[in-house]
Amino acid sequence: MGEYKTAKLDAVFSALGDPTRRAILARLQTSDARVTDLAGDFPISLNSVSKHIRMLERAGLLRRSVTGRDHLLSLNAKPMAEAAAWMEHYRSFWENRLAALETYVLDKKRKRK
């Protein structure tokens, strides 16, 4: 179970690590779009837009519905929420650890004096 989720989270972080892909997600936040719409919105080739879209799909961040020849893309924010939860967990973990590190080191200095 854990492994599946981890692979997913990995894909989400890789997908979110690129500015073009983040821009695609931001664009889809306003409304669903066809692949060709997205290609028009960004100054890159249809081919590279397709590659970015595939990465986003693999991460589960996009849903694709096919009607005839049209592929309509929509945003699926759930994996992003999971990634955010991971980050929040570790933000709080490290904040608390650094506070404990401070206490430890200052105590040690005090005892030495």
């Binding site: 854990g2 492994e3 989720k5 981890t6 989270l9 990995d10 972080f13 890789s14 979110l16 690590g17 690129d18 500015p19 073009t20 983040r22 100054p43 890159i44 590279s48 970015h52 990634a83 991971w86 980050m87 967990h89 570790y90 933000r91 973990f93 490290w94 904040e95 608390n96 650890r97 650094l98 506070a99 404990a100 590190l101 401070e102 206490t103 430890y104 080191v105 200052l106 040690k108 200095k109």
Partner: protein
Amino acid sequence: MNAAAPAVTPSATAVVVRRTIAAAPAELFDAWLDAEALAIWMRPDGIRHTSAKADARVGGRYEIIMQGDEKTYPHHGVYRVIDRPRRLVFTWISHGTEGCETLVTVDFLPAGQRTEVVVTHEQLPEAARESHTKGWTSGLGRLDDFGSRSAAS
């Protein structure tokens, strides 16, 4: 490739936490590599006891076992960069990462009489994981190429 080539920006995928502490960089740095010290400050709320082992050399393994009331939370990883007292980089594997290898970089920045400790915790994209392994096997135990190895992260 071109302008759209993937550039992994840590800001979007990494947790960055900072704290300025009234101690010298070396004092803080050493507390990360000393098993006795780790056992004390690596004990979050709800953890009754932490035990730690640290083989403090590049390529050496550490283990931090946090014992809760009902569950045990093992953490482990390998030191990638030990650049005392400036920078420490190690992998981090735990229940929180669901057994997946992640990377922790700790920078110790002098700030007058104090030190700013910056922890950057990131998931490793697949590509970076590969290059790490390569950089690893080729320069094992060499202490003078820290810089180049950390640039690969």
